[in-house]
């Protein structure tokens, strides 16, 4: 709009100076609907005087390719059209384009800035809630499908013998050593020949057993590693 331009003409004698003060306005990209900040993007003025703002060359190039933003999946236009994003909300009323310039009022400016922050937060919360609700039904659906797939394909995961024993869809339980107990109790492995403590890497032959009786594992280790012959 021409009202955007304030041309200040300073007449100094014969010299005429023209100073162009442009009012800043955040536009919406025509293609993806993101905000175009000053200094970014390209504006295209068509012959019928319609102005297209683009936030970046991606949008600009898509426009030149004559793509319809309502069909291009990553644009806001598509998302709103297909119900992916929130379309109707009272917070959108605050963002409508106003063509009347407001006289600067410090309080008004301050309140507006505070309001912008708050409204933005409310709007983004509502938008994310909208998306969450939309995705809820999908989660339930996926659980159902997963269960069905498990029922059909249980033979891929669980051995038939195990299935015969335990017909539930859970995998057989494997008992593993709990890391907490390792420090407290190292259970030795006994055999006819002697006993071994695998974790410490000790094997005590039965001939040595009388020598190591009553000793703790550290001492046993010393006895064994010293290589004394008994």
């Amino acid at each position: 709009m021409i009202s955007d331009i304030v041309n200040v003409i300073l007449c100094l004698g014969n010299c005429v100076l023209l100073v162009n003060l442009r009012r800043m306005r955040l536009e919406k990209c025509w293609f993806c609907s993101s905000t175009v900040y000053p200094g970014h993007g390209i504006q295209f003025v068509r012959n019928d005087a319609k102005i297209f703002h683009f936030c970046r060359s991606k949008c600009h190039k898509n426009f030149k390719m004559k793509r319809n933003p309502r069909k291009v999946k990553w644009t806001k236009a598509y998302r709103r059209l297909h119900g992916k994003d929130m379309t109707q909300d009272s917070t959108f009323e605050f963002e409508r384009k106003r063509n009347r310039p407001e006289r600067y009022d410090r309080n008004l400016a301050e309140n507006t800035l505070k309001a912008i922050k708050k409204i933005d937060k409310i709007r983004s919360d509502r938008a994310s809630d909208h998306i969450k609700n939309r995705l809820k039904t999908g989660k339930v659906q996926r659980q159902k499908e997963a269960r069905k797939q498990l029922e059909l394909g249980i033979h891929l995961v669980k051995a038939p013998l195990a299935l015969a024993q335990d017909s539930s869809l859970c995998l057989p339980k494997i008992k593993a050593m709990c890391p907490k107990h390792r420090q407290k109790r190292i259970s030795p492995w006994k055999s006819e020949i002697g006993f071994a403590v695998p974790r410490l890497g000790i094997f005590v032959h039965q001939n040595l057993m009388h020598a190591t009786r009553g000793l703790n594992y550290q001492e046993v280790f010393y006895v064994v590693s010293s290589g004394l012959e008994f």
Binding site: S3, C11, V16, G39, Q43, F44, N47
Partner: protein, 151 residues
């Protein structure tokens, strides 16, 4: 990026319809012209019953280009076609009306910066603004045609 052999449309009622750029005024070997640059052009097509003739060499100022113009404030603007306005040696427009989207460009006032006189520029600005408000496609340059009213 207007260069010799570029065809340009004309956005005023001077009588020319299409121009072909011959030369760019400025440095001797200047390659390209942008918005607000002055070119020497030859008239290829005219509107009947106007003072201008076909294959007449005139001077024009470029008002719209298809190539983007980068303003100092970071704004980049591109138009749909290449348009010029016919001017004379002093820099006064030969026509009395300017058509089309030219009126919306902020540089249009720069176009007429060399027409001296504070009131002249004010007249042009007022007529642009009025044209805009009335949504008319044309503006009238008041100082040239003293009889007509500012629209």
């Amino acid at each position: 990026m207007i260069q010799p052999q570029t065809h340009l449309n004309v956005a005023d009622n001077s009588g020319a319809r299409e121009l072909v750029c011959i030369r760019i005024i400025g440095a001797s070997n200047r390659r390209y012209a942008h918005i607000c640059d002055i070119i020497v052009a030859v008239i290829k097509e005219i509107v009947l019953n106007t003072p201008l003739e076909r294959s007449e060499v005139i001077i024009a100022i470029i008002v719209c280009t298809h190539k983007e113009l980068k303003h100092d404030n970071g704004m980049i603007i591109r138009y749909d076609d290449n348009v010029a306005v016919v001017i004379d040696q002093e820099g006064n427009p030969k026509g009395t009306q300017i058509f089309g989207i030219v009126r919306r460009d902020p540089s249009i006032v720069i176009v007429f910066r060399f027409t001296m006189g504070k009131d002249t520029i004010a007249n042009i600005k007022t007529s642009i603004r009025n044209a805009d408000m009335n949504r008319k496609g044309t503006i009238q340059i008041g100082y040239l045609n003293k009889k007509s009213k500012l629209s």
